[in-house]
Amino acid sequence: MPNDLVDAMVKMREAEAMELAQKMLDAGEDPLQVLERCREALEIVGKQFEAGKYFLPELILSGEMLKRISKIAKPYMRKESDKKTEAKGTVIIGSVKGDIHDIGKDIVVFLLDTNGFEVHDLGVDVPAEKFVEAISQIQPAVVGMSALLTTALESMKNTIDAIKNAGLRDRVKIMVGGGAVDEKVRKYADADAYGPDAVAAVNLSKEWAKVKG
């Protein structure tokens, strides 16, 4: 049955996945094991995405299934097993000042979260000082910045300049993304990498968190 759950999730059969997860929980399976199967499924979906077979709908829907299954698994958790598995790493993220768009950033947050990262979402229209403050307080391995508006590119550069001026640039890896961003913008703003999609953001974070850890 566990593999059936993975299969149902990977093939986007949401109703079946929900039913299977409920059955496993009712039958006394360790809820953490059930969630582990969900993560396995998400891993496969992520790979399919990178292979160009799956796209945003599958990323979003599989993440949504994980969220729904986590919710029904909660009452089955014993106290000691309720402890969160240790986060893979810490990421702070936000849409830069002047930009209030959150759809792309939220998908990245969602995917980082389902991949086991501790994500601090600073929200939208985030001033440079707020990034600087969050970096010195939270000390993340990774900082993500998003911009959809071309008018926010300057503010992306200013934010990274502010991080440099605060002497924090060497302590973090910075990834940038969003509709207005590409490799040219990465270079202009002096970030470490440009991620064209949410899976790229997860892969970059995995790579960088490992180095730091």
Binding site: P57, G98, H101, A152, A180
Partner: protein, 447 residues
């Protein structure tokens, strides 16, 4: 129901010629001189020749998308541009006079701010109202239509917009939820119940807000019309003259929202497709009507959620393309030239979107590979694009010119090409915009 909008009608060619004739004539434009009128006709002809694919134009028309660039270029704030119609029109005059692109983009996207105030618009934040006075307006994405409301939309799109959607997106129009359904009002005994809402004080207040907003919109339109006359009167045709959208984007952009509409492809596929079908005739009529109002031939159609990264090719062919193609055919049959502006990339779609009648549409690209576009969809349609905004915002004039040269070499071969940008130019450096236009006007000469 009879299948419509699948085939090109026998009189489509004739209709197109007729509309081109009207547009090219420049009738009603207050030209400043005979030379200006000649220049207008010559520029419009460059665009016509590129579209029809019958002969190579004299040179490539240079038609960047102004976006909100003229506002920053003139040094005024976005707030001023939306609230002070003089500031708006002066900014546009300055941009057009200084940089002289071949086609004119009327500032139809700079909507009047006080109208949004009067109606308490919720879909966006705009300068001084949720974003700074320097910022452009930005969309607040939410689920404005719930999944279980698909059937209501399908049953009665107009009623759904009036009674449910508008009350959600305009605070001042909340009382419209009391409006009666119209088809039941069909004989004498139905009159009184249909009139009750109009006696309601709140509904009356909603209508008075609409009247106020309407009057303000007319003041804005008059200012824009004077600007149109002034710029076009110097010899510059407008690049587009109407607006419509792909049915999937109507549902996805502002009704369901990105996340939801993408999941609906799995959760509510039949309702989603049926809703797109129901919206289709509205989108055709809107495109035709908006062009007729301006005497133009090209409705601008921004395409959003069908891009490469949003869905698979299979999903594109099932959910997005069928009703977009119907909109295209519907417009072509009326003699219009759909100006399809592909935001993001369509590198996986080039074969599918080649299924359009020859010489009848413009495919305008952003991040799509122009060499591949030229070899595929470029055989049946004029292509336009695609100087990247990241380049215009961050590079040097020399880098910009190098890109323009390569673009013209690749996409401009043998006509069928309109030079443009991949997006509205807000945020671009003025020296880059100027270098792009000057260089390309010169380099894009065929003979």
């Amino acid at each position: 129901m009879k299948e419509r909008f699948l085939k090109v009608s026998p009189d489509a060619d004739q209709n197109q010629e007729k509309h081109f004739e009207t547009w090219l004539s420049g009738k009603g434009i207050p030209f400043v001189s005979v030379e200006a009128e000649e220049a207008y006709k010559a520029r419009a002809t460059l665009i016509k020749d590129a579209i029809q694919l019958k002969k190579k134009p004299r040179r490539i028309a240079i038609c960047p998308s102004a976006g909100f660039f003229p506002v920053q270029y003139a040094g005024v704030s976005m707030y001023d541009a939306m609230y002070d119609y003089n500031a708006l029109t002066q900014a546009w005059e300055k941009y057009c006079n200084d940089l002289t692109p071949d086609a004119y983009n009327a500032p139809m996207t700079i909507v009047p701010g006080s109208v949004l105030d009067i109606l308490d618009f919720k879909l966006c934040r705009w300068p001084g109202h949720g974003v700074s006075e320097q910022s452009e307006y930005q969309y607040v994405e939410k689920e404005y239509m719930k999944a279980d409301e698909y059937q209501d939309l399908i049953d009665d799109p107009t009623g759904f917009f009036m009674n449910t959607f508008f009350p959600r997106i305009f605070g001042a129009l909340k009382p419209l939820q009391k409006m009666p359904l119209l088809p039941p009002v069909n004989e004498i005994v139905c009159i009184p119940p249909a009139l009750f809402p109009f006696g309601d004080k709140e509904v009356q207040a909603a209508f008075s807000s609409l009247a106020k907003a309407g009057e303000e919109t007319i003041r804005w339109r008059d200012a824009v019309r004077r600007l149109n006359g002034s710029v076009m009167g110097k010899g510059y045709p407008a690049f587009s003259g109407g607006f419509t959208k792909a049915p999937f984007d109507v549902i996805g952009d502002t009704l369901r929202g990105t996340r939801e509409v993408l999941m609906d492809m799995y959760r509510h596929p039949d309702e989603l497709i049926e809703a797109c079908e129901r919206i289709t005739p509205f989108m055709i009529k809107a495109g035709v009507a908006s062009c007729m109002a301006t005497g133009h031939i090209m409705p601008f159609i921004p395409l959003h959620k069908g891009a490469d990264t949003f869905m698979s090719e299979e999903q594109f062919q099932k959910f997005y393309w069928p009703t977009l193609r119907k909109v295209i055919i519907g417009l072509v049959n009326e003699g219009m030239v759909p100006q399809l502006f592909v935001e993001g990339g369509y590198n996986q779609r080039l074969e599918v979107i080649s299924d359009v009648p020859k010489g009848k549409v413009v495919w305008w690209f952003d991040l799509t590979d122009m060499a591949r576009a030229k070899k595929t969809v470029g055989r049946v349609a004029c292509i336009a694009g695609n100087v990247p905004l990241s380049l215009l915002c961050t590079a040097t004039p020399d880098e910009v010119k190098a890109y323009c040269k390569e673009l013209i070499d690749v996409a401009g071969q043998d006509g069928g090409f309109i030079f443009s940008t991949g997006a509205g130019m807000q945020g671009a450096k003025a020296e880059n915009v100027s270098a792009m236009i000057e260089f390309s006007k010169d380099y894009g000469i065929y003979q």
